[in-house]
């Protein structure tokens, strides 16, 4: 062979940074057949001004080729452990079958959000003009799809043994309490790309994520659910990348133009409050649904928001950003949030795809210790009353439909910031129509963008309008039972999926299959 010998010495090997730069920014180009503004039509209407995308500092240097390799390896590890868990019937090693209800709520409420996040980041990745931001968003889009898939495997496994997990995608689009996480994410996805990443990458993944993952993952570990713990580890290594993306996004926007600061402040106010309202579901997981508890909601709020979030917002004041509006209301509510939420689900559990129960005496003792100023005075008497009713065979179910907040879509059960005995009602009139809200926080968000929320798909309104019956249903037929019909429309197995835990098929099966009591000691 007559290969010409290269007289020059071989080119210097690229540094990791140069390599990364070539595989990200180096792949971008400015379009010439069409103006850039037409190719990227969505990155200006929100009012955010970006003068120099090159000032974007890559929060991590992961190229696509390395990304596939890491994620492939992670999948292998994760599925090996999930397989072992399934073969060893690991689902029977959890504390008791009450714990499974936290999984049901998480898997039906949050797993579809992973898929929504996949879609949202794919859209953000399409709409950013800056190449590095686009690639970071695309990688996260793939992460989220992976998380949705691994959780679908978990759902599939638990569905073999427990009720309520048989059709989570169908339920996500219909069920009243699942409209809370669904509408939260759709609000973000239907905003512009900058608001989306501020809402999801920063406000949710960075500021509030510990409050979601900590109780879920530590709760799983405390209660013997090793499959979920492993999923947590696998997802966590992605989450740290998502969190750094959230920080970089906000820094970048704030530094690009002083006019961006008030816009970002408004988004932080909005998405703090929306995220906090969503976390009401987590508060009851922590205080009521985990048979072995990790820490109380109030403690978690103090540690993860008041301290860590306080440090973050203190740093943000350098940019002229202040604490999110109504953060003090969230702190005032921390001693009652979980109790009010759980009591509401206790009322409506017959219309839910998971079970509720009255806490055991030992659990009420724990609640008294964790909530010395509120539990014994305000909430214990109600649980004791319900327990008595239950003993008489009169388990209480609320037969009416609750009024929903137009914004967060949660039933209006939250109380006045300064009075835990009085329900908080707020209302606004827009184009001669009255809209109702659970809080000043939700009302402010509506007032700022009323057109976005006047047509919200509110489950209770939809039921009353007759939109929540299966096709062909005749509401005028004799003996028509509207509630039963709605539950059919939701795809629930009435009498199995919801209602009181004690005596439920789940509780009976647990005893029959494991020989352990339905409520662990």
């Amino acid at each position: 062979m007559n290969m010409p010998t290269n007289p020059q010495k071989p080119a210097k090997k690229l540094s990791l940074k140069e390599n990364y730069s070539h595989l990200t920014r180096g792949l971008g180009w400015d379009t010439s057949y069409q103006p850039m503004d037409k190719v990227f039509p969505q990155d200006k209407f929100e009012g955010i001004k970006i003068h120099d995308w090159d000032k974007w500092e890559d929060p991590f240097r992961l190229t696509m080729d390395a990304y596939w390799k890491y994620q492939g390896e992670k999948e292998k590890k994760l599925y090996a452990i999930v397989d072992a868990f399934q073969q060893n019937n690991g689902q029977f090693n959890v504390t008791d079958a009450r714990y499974i209800n936290t999984l049901k709520l998480f898997l039906t409420g949050v797993s579809p959000l992973e898929y929504a996040a996949h879609r949202g980041f794919a859209m953000a990745g399409r709409n950013f003009r800056g190449t590095s931001a686009r690639i970071a968003a695309q990688m996260q889009a793939i992460d989220e799809l992976r998380h949705a898939q691994t959780q679908a495997h978990t759902i599939s496994h638990y569905n073999k043994f427990f009720n309520g997990l048989h059709d989570y995608t169908h339920m996500h689009d219909r069920v009243w309490y699942l409209s809370v996480p669904k509408s939260y994410f759709e609000d973000a996805m239907s905003a512009g790309p900058f608001e989306f990443v501020t809402a999801i990458s920063f406000s949710f993944e960075y500021v509030l994520t510990n409050l979601l993952f900590m109780p879920f993952m530590s709760g799983a570990a405390y209660n013997g659910d090793m499959a979920t713990v492993t999923f947590g580890f696998s997802a966590q290594s992605d989450e740290s990348r998502h969190m750094t993306l959230g920080l970089e996004v906000v820094k970048f926007i704030l530094e690009q133009d002083p006019g961006n600061v008030p816009i970002v402040q408004k988004w932080l106010d909005k998405w703090f409050w929306r995220g906090y309202r969503l976390l009401a579901l987590v508060s009851m997981m922590m205080d009521y649904m985990l048979p072995k508890r990790v820490m109380s909601w109030a403690e978690a709020w103090e540690m993860y928001f008041e301290q860590n979030g306080g440090a973050l917002f203190n740093d943000l004041t350098r940019y002229g950003i202040r604490m999110p509006k109504y953060h003090e209301v969230a702190s005032m509510e921390k001693h009652r949030l979980s109790h009010e939420t759980w009591a509401t689900f206790y009322n409506y559990t017959h219309a839910a795809a998971f079970h509720t129960w009255v806490p055991e005496e030992s659990e009420m003792k724990w609640l008294s210790e964790k909530y010395p100023t509120t539990f014994d005075k305000l909430y214990r008497p109600r649980f004791e009353h319900w327990r008595e009713q239950q003993a008489k065979g009169e388990r209480f179910y609320n037969g009416t439909l609750p009024m929903l907040c137009q914004l967060c879509q949660i039933p209006m059960f939250f109380t006045e910031p300064d009075d835990p005995t009085k329900i908080c009602y707020r209302e606004t009139t827009y184009r001669d129509e009255k809209f109702h809200f659970c809080s000043d926080g939700c009302k402010d968000i509506f007032d700022n963008e009323p057109e976005k929320y006047i047509h919200s798909w509110l489950p209770v309104h939809q039921i009353y309008q007759g939109n929540c019956f299966r096709p062909g249903t005749d509401p005028t037929a004799p003996g028509f039972d509207p509630l039963a019909e709605v539950l059919q429309y939701y795809g629930f197995h009435v009498g199995e999926d919801g209602g009181e835990y004690l005596g439920s098929p789940d509780a009976k099966n647990w005893k029959a299959w494991t020989g352990k009591p339905a409520v662990s000691e």
């Binding site: 210097k12 540094s15 990791l16 500092e57 920080l247 820094k251 973050l312 740093d315 350098r318 940019y319």
Partner: protein, 354 residues
């Protein structure tokens, strides 16, 4: 037995002793590698070993996965070398870093001068070639009877490597500074290790420079400014220097002379508690107040170097950021004393180094 570690893309070579981690060897030799937990858990210090033999040490299997070990990745904070090795690290070539090796020095106190009622200047004569350092770097001084050394910036010029000066402010009840103020005397031996730190002028950056100093934090900027002016720097250099009163404003005369000699050097002293006897007609208030007034609250297009106590640094960072100068253009050297640790505010990861 010692080995050589070559760090790409810097092309620098450092010595590593048997059992010394790669990270320790690099840091000791003035080569900075990213690192955080320093015990094998966080993977911030992951490097690629291009050539040579090494041990992984206590790297966690989660931080360094099996396939990464097969690819010859290593965690620098745990890995030790068993031959000469070449590694590739995620470091930016800082074109302005000179990587002077860290050494132990023993000098003789040549002179101690009272620069202000609370600050002493200690001038130390070093044997041989003296210390090679970049203006702005610091040394760790051994205090007899104390386990932990104390950090002081070098206040003198790098082109005078055998006579170094430290500026020491007396910390009330501080054991280290009490020794240096009350016990140390002319002719005594003093030991220190250095040069350390990444606080030096980024000469390759074309933007004009702002120095902001408070109290004995003047030492680094003094060395940097003397060095810049001596080498014929033509860019605008502004020193905003704050002290409580006229008596604490040390080296004031020297900077006034420099400002009159160099039209590109602007000297802006500010007193926050001037007394009657100060006869002060200059700026009043803190360093950041004086800087905001001088620059009209617009710091864009500058590089800023901040040196002083944490409260002053924080106030200056806030003012600079309100005036649209951000992290990439701000360098800081915080002067922490034992009194600062207890009430330091919790920080978030929003900023990498500020």
């Amino acid at each position: 037995m010692s080995y050589q570690i070559t760090i790409e893309p810097l092309g620098h070579t450092v010595e590593a002793e048997e059992g010394q981690t790669i990270l320790d060897a690099c840091l000791r030799a003035g080569v900075w590698l990213p690192h955080a937990c320093c015990h094998g858990l966080c993977a911030t210090c992951k490097v690629q070993v291009v050539d040579g033999d090494y041990e992984h040490g206590n790297a966690s299997p989660f931080a360094l996965m099996d396939f990464e070990r097969e690819e010859r990745k290593a965690l620098a904070c745990c890995a030790t070398v068993t031959s000469d090795v070449t590694i590739e690290a995620d470091v930016d070539e800082d074109p302005d870093a000179r990587h002077y090796p860290v050494q132990d020095f023993e000098g003789v106190v040549e002179e101690i001068v009272a620069l202000s009622p609370t600050i002493k200047g200690i001038r130390i004569r070093l044997p041989g070639a003296g210390i090679a350092f970049q203006a702005g770097q610091y040394v760790q001084v051994q205090i007899p009877g104390l386990d932990q050394p104390r950090a002081f910036s070098l206040a003198s010029r790098p082109d005078d490597p055998t006579l170094v000066e430290l500026n020491v402010r007396r910390v009330p009840n501080g054991q280290g500074t009490t020794y240096l103020h009350d016990v140390l005397k002319q002719g005594d031996t003093i030991r220190f290790t250095g040069p350390l730190g990444r606080f030096f002028v980024r000469l390759s950056d074309p933007q004009p420079l702002i120095f902001m100093a408070g109290g004995s934090g003047l030492s680094s900027p003094r060395s940097m400014i003397l060095d810049l002016l001596a080498s014929g720097e033509q860019r605008d250099i502004t020193l905003v220097y704050g002290a409580r009163n006229r008596a604490e404003l040390y080296y004031d005369d020297e900077f006034r002379v420099l400002a009159s000699q160099h039209p590109n050097f602007h000297y802006l002293p500010a007193l926050n508690e001037p007394t009657e006897t100060c006869n002060w007609t200059g700026a009043r208030g803190f360093v950041h107040d004086a800087a905001v007034a001088h620059f009209g609250n617009d710091f864009r297009g500058h590089r800023a170097y901040l040196c002083g106590p944490p409260v002053m640094i924080e106030a200056c960072i806030r003012s600079l950021m309100q005036g649209r100068l951000f992290e990439r253009d701000i360098y800081t050297e915080k002067f922490l004393t034992s009194a600062d640790g207890a009430n330091a505010l919790a920080r978030s990861p929003l900023f990498r180094s500020l």
